[in-house]
Amino acid sequence: MKTITFLVLTVMTIWFVASAADAKVISPSAEKGENKVYIRADGLACYFCAYGLERFFKQSGRIAWYDMNMKEGVVEVGFIKGKPILPIETINQYVYDAGFSPREVRAEFVGRLTRASDGTYRFEVTETAQSFPVEANAVVKESQEILNQKIILIAGTKKDSTAPMRLVPEQIVPWRSKP
């Protein structure tokens, strides 16, 4: 029985593996900022869907460029210099509205990490003066020597069960030395 189940699951996995076409980078004329977001979504299988997601981002008026790779089922968007970055909830909603299921979001923001007197951390985005709380995980705690300096925060999240997506710091590097 287990063998049959394994075979069936294997066949089904092969059957349903998405295949998609190559894509290319686009660069509209807006001045590019330093902040960008990378999104992996289920169902990103053709140009019509990818254009749909692009349309939502364009309508936000905050996106300078959009790079899609349908082979990998990912898109990358870059924000216009000085325009507020989109909250992750909004990004997720765009993905849903475009007809996909978001699986992973990874952000690369430039700004400063600060520590309040109560021990909590915040990240201030340089270009937009936006500020948001940051989880005090090991990556943050190991970055004490670059507090208040201009850095690149790389944060990511994956969709797990019913929990809402949230960005968790994965890497903090000094500005201009991108990994």
Binding site: I4, S19, A21, C46, F48
Partner: protein
């Protein structure tokens, strides 16, 4: 006893699934294609110069045999001779008359007027054969006559109608050539006959019957000229499930019908072209050998001489085929 009964009952779906898989493989092995595609030319390279493309999609022929290409990312329409030589181009990025954001399909009526659907701007613009702007209709919305992503276009010359596949509104709408809404074809939904799930393209056969590339139901659907459901093919018995075996589809995004009623499909996520008989029997399929992702057809068109043209959007080129019936 109960435990044994439960085990047998639980294994029945798996048993039927295996039977389905075996049946499919046997059908594949035993099928003979009564026709074949022959690649005869490849037109275009990546770029913005005349004759180059940046994500080409929509294709259509005028009565003289010239080919119009919706050069989507270049935000323009290009007109080529029947042998692929550049004639003219028009359009530029923008939202004004004669401008485009993402032109994704093109259709030509019997008088040579060119209709262009714009994915981002939710409108259809009409031009002369030399690219002079004539008029437009459409606005963003979900109500009848409004669009949320104007996608595929096709003209029924006998009835002077134009059909528009609306991607996010999940329907096809029929308009007069002046832009007056006539009726709706299909309704949003999955699996059920007549239900459409992100349709991307539409075609009309010589009898006026309407064919819809029901992309995310992974099937084609056929309607009468008045929009009544007739038939469906693909999607694994029409249920909407994607598959790669012969006769089934994975995001079929483009469709065209030749003068003999044969149906040509760009089965985009399977990276192949498929030819079907008027009754839906698979006549031939074509992809690169071995199959790779280096071919990503989104739209297809057939000229008066029976050549089949596929827009290979990811690779900025148009592939020209001859179809040979055995």
């Amino acid at each position: 006893m109960n435990r044994r009964f439960f085990r047998i009952a639980a294994s029945l779906p798996l048993f039927f699934f295996l039977i389905l898989v075996l049946w499919t493989f046997s059908m594949e092995a035993g099928s003979e294609s009564p026709g074949r595609f022959r690649l005869v030319a490849t037109w275009g390279t990546t770029g913005q110069a005349p004759g180059q493309f940046n994500e080409p999609m929509g294709l259509a022929f005028d009565p003289q045999g010239n080919l119009y290409v919706a050069d989507t990312r270049n935000a323009r329409i290009q007109k080529l001779t029947s042998e692929g030589s550049f004639l003219l181009a028009w359009g530029r990025p923008g939202e004004g008359p004669g401008e485009f954001s993402k032109p994704v399909d093109v259709a030509v009526d019997g008088r040579g007027r060119v209709y262009v659907s714009d994915y981002d701007l939710d409108r259809i613009q009409v031009f002369t054969s030399s690219g002079e702007y004539l008029k437009q209709w459409g606005q963003t919305g979900k109500a009848p006559g409004q669009f949320t992503v104007a996608s595929g276009l096709s003209i029924d010359p006998k009835r002077s109608r134009i059909y528009l596949a609306e991607f996010y509104n999940k329907r096809v709408e029929a308009y007069s050539l002046d832009g007056v809404l006539l009726f709706q074809v299909g309704r949003p939904g999955r699996a059920r006959s007549g239900a459409l799930n992100y349709p991307t393209d539409v075609a009309v056969d010589p009898a006026g019957q309407i064919y819809v590339a029901d992309a995310y139901n992974n099937r084609l659907q056929k309607f009468t000229s008045e929009g009544k459901y007739l038939d469906k093919w693909g999607g694994i018995f029409g249920w909407g499930i994607a598959a790669s075996w012969q006769g089934w589809f994975r995001v079929p995004s483009g469709i065209a019908v030749d003068s003999a009623g044969r149906i040509f499909v760009s089965d985009s996520a399977n990276h192949r072209m498929v030819a079907l008989s008027p009754k839906g029997r698979v006549l031939a399929q074509w992809n690169l050998d071995p199959p790779t992702k280096l071919f990503s057809p989104t739209r297809v068109a057939v000229d008066a001489g029976g050549r089949i043209f596929a827009a290979d959007t990811a690779h900025d080129r148009i592939l020209v085929f001859e179809f040979q019936a055995d």
